[in-house]
């Protein structure tokens, strides 16, 4: 049971993130929601590669014993870098939206301002 906790955390993070994206009215909260989903998926990848009692997969200075799988960690690193780029872009777009509408409330955005 105790080793299922990471997977429960993954499901919880993804659901919380989806809730924020779907039901929150503030653009910044939507962005936060997406980041939370992303963390959930990253945690899932890391958990897949972990074995009980394993050490970091560095071959040159290994004291012996089992290592956790390096591939999911490489994938997660890539995914984190991409996530930062997406986050930066979303926030900069949110700044532009705020400049135009003077609000971040989804309900008040989208009127004919042009």
């Amino acid at each position: 049971m105790i080793f299922n906790i990471p997977f429960i955390a993954v499901a919880a993070l993804i659901l919380i993130g989806l809730y924020a994206v779907i039901f929150k009215r503030n653009l910044i909260k939507i962005v936060i929601g997406i980041t939370i989903i992303q963390s959930g998926v990253n945690l899932f990848l890391i958990t897949l590669g972990y074995r009980e009692g394993s050490i970091a997969p560095i071959y040159t200075s290994s004291p012996g014993g089992i290592m956790s799988l390096p591939v999911p960690q490489a994938l997660t690193l890539t995914s984190i870098v991409i996530g930062v780029a997406v986050l930066a872009l979303m926030l900069s777009l949110a700044v532009h939206i705020f400049r135009h509408y003077k609000t971040l409330n989804v309900k008040k955005i989208g009127g004919d301002e042009e």
Binding site: I14, V21, L27, I30, I34, I37, Q38, V41, F44, L45, L48, V71, P72, L75, T78, S79, I82, A85, V86, L89, M90, L93, A94, H96, I97, H100, Y101, I109, G110, E113, E114
Partner: protein, 523 residues
């Protein structure tokens, strides 16, 4: 080294170069634009032109029956998962041809269309990045790599949609797009993790070889289809598409069509290749899901197009409708191919669906370019305020007529060839499907005739009396697409036999795609 050796070398490394050339070109563009604007535009067009040459070089090899694999990383097969494979079969290169033609035409079009904007070095950088991302999505044979290219495409296209940051609606459309596409990409990553956890592989062919269709695989299938269909603008998830297509600069919309179709390619790759081994055994339900989605997409797109008053939004809804035809064709193919007596008509449906991907890209693309030309000349997109433009813009009018006929499937144009294949084959599956498809085409014709009448015909309006024809680069790019449309319409058999049929075969015979990699020893 003589020329033919050099060409062989290019061909040998072409899958890598097709992605690398636009990627490097993207980061050189800001440097080149320090010289002057003209040098930058020529550089971008040359970069895309060279990429197009490479795509055609690879295509001539692939269409003659080879599946081309290119290994990045360790060549030694005994090491697991330390390499990325590019695997190019006929459907990949078919989509790559569409993407690169659209990007090149968009680059030519932007020369005058975007002339008055600032920050054009970033604009062209993003266009090249997006092209690299789309081509990567289409050529890669690795699920995680697919995710990375998906994200490259989404980030650059969201930035391009919001390129006119002084317009509130553009920024809003860009935000909507990045939210949708980043969530879609995260779900793709989640299903990649599900595959990796079960089969210890990231390569599409290796996953497809090992897949068992257990509970986790079903979750992954649903997530992948939902995420990629969301990015492709299939109806229950289409709300971002009219905004994004309608608010982006027209040149960007053209490339965006390519990006949307790259996601659609992802749907087909997932259904036919990754789940190809198990879907035949198990159910016909995925085929029916695609058919029903196709029908709904078609109807909603066309019906919503009727009530629009903004020209670009209207064309965007028509584009949603057109996506329905592709899904209908491919879905009907997937349903019919399973039963032996229907296999012939199923193959026809597949050919129609795949051919329509290419035709839609050019038809809808041409209409968007014409809408952009109207905007460039009059600064107006509302249909109600336009009128009498045929008096001043005669070439644009001709191009609009070509686009109108092509999109509604009237005989001398290419839209007819693919739509006829879809009507015929879906009629054998269920007549109602064909009737709905024909009805949607008729409605598309009605809508575009209405626009043609209100924008181009009618008395000349005083405020448009000194409107001039658009500059040469825009006319050239519209001319290129019109020429393609007419050539495809006059010689459909040639295109179907030489390009579409290998692509349809590549989708159906997934075992070849799989065995190509397994014979290397697995990745």
């Amino acid at each position: 080294m003589n020329i033919s050796d050099f060409i062989d070398l290019l061909l040998q490394h072409s899958p890598a170069l097709i992605v690398a050339v636009p990627l490097l070109g993207a980061f050189l563009t800001p440097l080149i634009s320090r010289i002057n604007d003209k040098a930058r535009n020529i550089f971008v067009i040359l970069t895309l032109g060279f990429t197009m040459f490479l795509v055609f070089l690879l295509a001539s090899n692939v269409f003659s029956g080879n599946i081309y694999t290119y290994i990045f990383g360790a060549q030694d097969i005994s090491l697991p998962v330390v390499r990325i494979l590019f695997e190019v079969d006929a459907i990949s290169i078919f989509m790559a041809i569409i993407s690169i033609v659209l990007s090149l035409v968009a680059a030519i079009y932007s020369w005058s269309f975007m002339k008055e904007n600032t920050g054009l070095d970033k604009f062209y950088t993003l266009i090249l990045l997006m092209t690299a991302g789309m081509l990567g999505m289409e050529l890669t044979g690795d699920m995680f790599n697919f995710f990375v290219f998906l994200e490259i495409t989404s980030i650059s296209s969201a930035a391009l949609i919001a390129f006119w940051t002084n317009k509130a609606k553009s920024v809003e459309a860009g935000f909507k797009y990045i939210v949708i596409s980043s969530i879609a990409a995260i779900f793709v990553l989640f299903s990649v993790a599900l595959f990796y956890g079960q089969y210890n592989a990231l390569n599409i062919a290796v996953i497809a070889n090992a897949i068992q269709y257990n509970f986790l695989d079903k979750i992954a299938l649903i997530l992948l289809i939902a995420a990629l269909a969301m990015k492709a603008g299939v109806v229950p998830m289409h709300m971002w598409l009219p905004d994004a297509y309608g608010r982006a600069p027209s040149a960007v919309t053209l490339v965006l069509i390519g990006a949307t179709q790259a996601s659609l390619y992802g749907v087909f790759r997932v259904c036919f290749t990754i789940y190809g081994n198990v879907i035949n055994l198990n159910t016909i339900s995925i085929g029916w899901v695609l058919v029903v989605l196709g029908i709904i997409t078609m109807l909603v797109g066309v019906v919503m197009a009727i009530i629009q008053t903004d020209l670009k939004r209207l064309i965007a809804f028509a584009a949603v409708g057109e996506i329905g035809y592709m899904l209908l064709g491919i879905g009907a193919g997937l349903v019919s191919l399973i039963s032996p007596e229907m296999a012939a008509s199923g193959f026809e449906a597949m050919k129609g669906g795949i051919f329509h991907i290419m035709n839609d890209a050019f038809d809808i693309g041409l209409l968007f370019l014409v809408a952009g030309a109207i905007y460039y000349a009059t600064k107006e997109t509302s249909i109600n305020k336009l009128g009498g433009l045929a008096r001043n813009m005669k070439y644009t009018t001709i191009f609009f007529i070509i686009g109108l006929l092509a999109v509604s499937g009237i005989p001398p144009m290419n839209g007819f060839a693919s739509k006829l294949l879809i009507y015929e084959s879906t009629y054998q599956l269920n007549p109602i499907l064909a009737i709905i498809a024909i009805l949607s085409s008729i409605m598309l014709l009605a809508i575009f005739v209405k626009i043609f009448h209100s924008a181009f015909l009618g008395p000349s309006l005083k405020k448009y009396s000194n409107v001039k024809e658009v500059p040469k680069s825009m006319l050239i790019s519209m001319g290129i697409i019109s020429a393609i449309i007419i050539i495809f319409g006059i010689f459909p058999e040639f295109i179907i036999n030489n390009i579409v049929e290998p692509a349809a075969n590549a989708l159906i015979n997934h075992s070849e795609y799989i065995s190509q990699v397994i014979s290397l020893g697995g990745a």
